[in-house]
Symmetry: C2
DNA sequence: ATACCAATATAAGTATACATATCGGCCCTC
DNA sequence: GAGGGCCGATATGTATACTTATATTGGTAT
C-alpha cells in the first residue's frame, strides 16, 4: 500500500500517478468523489462514458475498493448510474429527463425565492446588490467564466436567504446534476443580457418583500434557462 | 464463502443467520439496502442508533464489503449518516430539519397534484376512486397498518399521474426519509378521519382538472400532517 | 449467409487479510 | 485525589485474492 494519509493533515499524494488531495478526516473514497464530481461538472467526463474501476484505481494509485465506494456515493447524487453487474457510467440525461428536472428545479428555486422574500434583512440586500453589480460588470467585460461563477453566487445567496438548509441542499444538488449541461448554454448569444435582466426582477421582488412575485420571477428565470438549454441540445441532434 | 445466488434466480439464503432475498440481477449490497431501509422505515432501527458493520455482516452471513456498500447507498438516500472513521448511524432528524423537509415535501407533492390535474385520464379517475374507497373501508375497520399502506398507494398514484418520473422519484425519496417519523403519527386520534377528508378534496380538484386547487389542497394536506407530527414529537421532549 | 449455441475472457461482486485512526482505560505525575 | 498522557483494543479504511456473471467471439448447423 502507498503511504497515504498516515501522518500529518492536509497532505497530497503522488504515486507517479495523478495527485489526490487528502485532508484530515477524509477518506480516499471521499477525495475520489470530489475529484470525479468536479470532472463531471466541468465536462471533462462525457455523459454516458463508462467509468472503469481498474483504470481509475490505477490512475490515482489506489485499489478498487475506494473507487467502488466513491461510485456508490456519487450514485447517491445521481451523477453516475449503477447498473448491477454492468459497471458505472456517467449519468447521461436525456432531453425528456432534463425537461422534468428543470420543472422541479424551477419550483424549488421558486420556493427559495419566495421564502427569501419573507425573511430577508437589510444586510442581505446590500450583499445581493453587490453580487449583482459584479455580475453586470462581468457581463460587460464578457468574461464568461467569471460571469458563470458570479451567477452561481447569486443563486447561492438566495438559497441561503431562504433559511431552509434542507431546501438549499436539495436545490444545490439538483443544480449540480445539470451543471454539465448548463455550462454549455452560458455562451449563447443573449443569455448574458437576459440573465442580468431576469436577476434584476428577482432581486427587486425579494427586496420588496413580495413572495409571490419573487416566486414567479425565479420560476420564469429557471424555465427560460431550461428552454434555452433544450434549444441548444436540439440543435445538436 | 456461502453458496449464495450462484445457481438459479429468486433464491433465498439461510446460513443459520437471518434470511436475505436475492433476486436475479441483484447484488448482496442492494438486497441489504432494501432490508435495512425497510427496518429503518418500520422503526425497528432507532434513529441515532449505530450500525455496526461486523454485527450486520454476521447477522446476514455475508462479509463486510457488501455491508459497507449498502451503507454508502443508504447515505445517498440520506437515511444513514457516515462520519468518516467513526461509523454509520441511522440518521436522526431534528425537529427543525423535519419542519424544513415538510416545507419542501409540501411543495413537491403539491407540484405532483398540479401536474396530475392537467394530465389525468378517465381510466386514472377510476383507479384513484378505487384506492380511495379502499382507504375509507380500512378507516372504518380501523386497521391502521392497512390504512397506512393504502394511504401510500394514494400518494403514489398521484406521483405517477404527474407524468414526471424525476419529480415522482424525488418525492418518493423524501417521503421515505421521513417515513420512520410519519409512521408514528398515523395512530393519532383524528388523523384517519382528517386524511380521508383531505384526500377527497385533493381527488376532486384533480378530477375537476383544477391545477391550482389541487396544488393547494395537497400542500395543505402535507402541511397538516407535518404539523401533527411536530405536535406529536413535542409531546415527547 | 445467418442464426444460435457454447466457450472463454473480462470486469463486477464478494471475501479476507492487513493498515491505521479513534476511543477508552490505566498509570503516572502534579 | 484529580487531571493528563500514553498505550492497547476495536472498528473503520484499504488492499488483494478469488468467485461469478455477462458479454463477446468463434464455430457449427440450418
Amino acid at each position: 500500500m502507498a503511504d497515504i494519509g498516515a501522518h500529518s493533515a492536509g497532505k497530497r499524494v503522488k504515486n507517479g500517478h495523478e495527485t489526490l488531495a487528502v485532508s484530515p478526516g477524509m477518506t480516499l473514497a471521499e477525495s475520489l468523489r470530489q475529484k470525479l464530481e468536479g470532472a463531471i461538472a466541468a465536462g471533462h467526463l462525457e455523459p454516458g462514458s463508462r467509468l472503469d474501476e481498474q483504470e481509475i484505481a490505477q490512475r490515482f494509485g489506489v485499489s478498487r475498493t475506494p473507487v467502488r465506494e466513491a461510485f456508490r456515493l456519487m450514485a447517491a447524487n445521481n451523477l453516475v448510474e449503477l447498473r448491477g453487474r454492468q459497471g458505472a457510467t456517467v449519468r447521461s440525461i436525456k432531453a425528456q429527463a432534463l425537461i422534468e428536472m428543470f420543472q422541479v428545479m424551477a419550483e424549488l428555486e421558486g420556493l427559495c425565492a419566495r421564502l427569501a422574500a419573507r425573511r430577508v434583512s437589510q444586510a442581505w440586500g446590500a450583499e445581493i446588490g453587490d453580487i449583482h453589480q459584479r455580475l453586470v460588470a462581468a457581463g460587460e467585460t464578457g468574461d464568461i467564466d467569471v460571469f458563470y461563477d458570479i451567477n452561481q453566487e447569486f443563486h447561492e445567496a438566495i438559497y441561503e436567504a431562504s433559511r431552509n438548509s434542507f431546501l438549499a441542499d436539495q436545490t444545490r444538488k439538483l443544480r449540480n446534476q445539470v451543471a454539465a449541461y448548463r455550462s454549455r448554454v452560458t455562451r449563447m448569444p443573449n443569455r448574458i443580457a437576459d440573465t442580468v435582466r431576469e436577476h434584476e426582477a428577482i432581486m427587486q421582488a425579494i427586496l420588496a418583500h413580495d413572495p409571490e412575485r419573487a416566486h414567479s420571477a425565479m420560476r420564469d428565470h429557471v424555465n427560460l434557462l431550461g428552454d434555452n438549454l433544450l434549444d441548444f441540445l436540439a440543435a445538436f441532434e
